[in-house]
Symmetry: C2
Subunit: 107 residues, 2 copies
Amino acid sequence: MGVSKTHIFSEKHNQVASVAKVLSHPARVAILEYISRQEGCICNDLVDEIGLAQATISQHLNEIKKLGLIKGTFEGKNLCYCINQDTWDTLQNLFGEFFQNVKFNCC
Amino acid sequence: MGVSKTHIFSEKHNQVASVAKVLSHPARVAILEYISRQEGCICNDLVDEIGLAQATISQHLNEIKKLGLIKGTFEGKNLCYCINQDTWDTLQNLFGEFFQNVKFNCC
DNA sequence: TATTATTATCGTAATATTGCGATATATAAT
DNA sequence: ATTATATATCGCAATATTACGATAATAATA
């Protein structure tokens, strides 16, 4: 049928999956790292840096934004995206805990 | 066009994305946690535990296996899946580093 | 070797993702 | 207000993922 049955899984498992989904495309991983290296990055730079069309970059940015991992503010006529530290910490912990728990419980 | 341009990204970024992809479905997150809680788990248990068809569980297991996160051995007539500690550690580090680096570099 | 139980694979339908060109919207400067 | 530049959204085509029933393969036991 092709439609994920998210309702049969726990809140936690769905959360981990949601975070992972955003990181499951190399473009988004690259975007996040690039943003973190700049002090505020400009979307147009990303188009050159990453090598995908502007529309595609915008789409990827939107998926990252939906998770709350980045926030953008206008500086002059450019949009400056920045890592949202609070969300980042939360998701890092969520993920770290999952990895640690599974490892800890393992046979 | 709908085909990911993995070749334009760095090895590291593709690796992170590959790991994340496996964790990007709640069923696989749930499977990994369940396996870690048992000492060796049986695939048939998973069908009851998770609530997806046997064929679907098998598919998900295969994707986890392709990453090397689990290994299965036969015990009696049942397949016992176990977390592959080595791979787990490696991927945990890969992921942890990415999270940490981005946070560290952030404005 | 036949039987039974477990797991994997095949085929297929539904849905989701990726990518891009075209176009719309938004902001700054003129 | 008009123009120029930056970013977002729309529409579409190609491909990938998810799920399942049916069936094949595998392993233990009778």
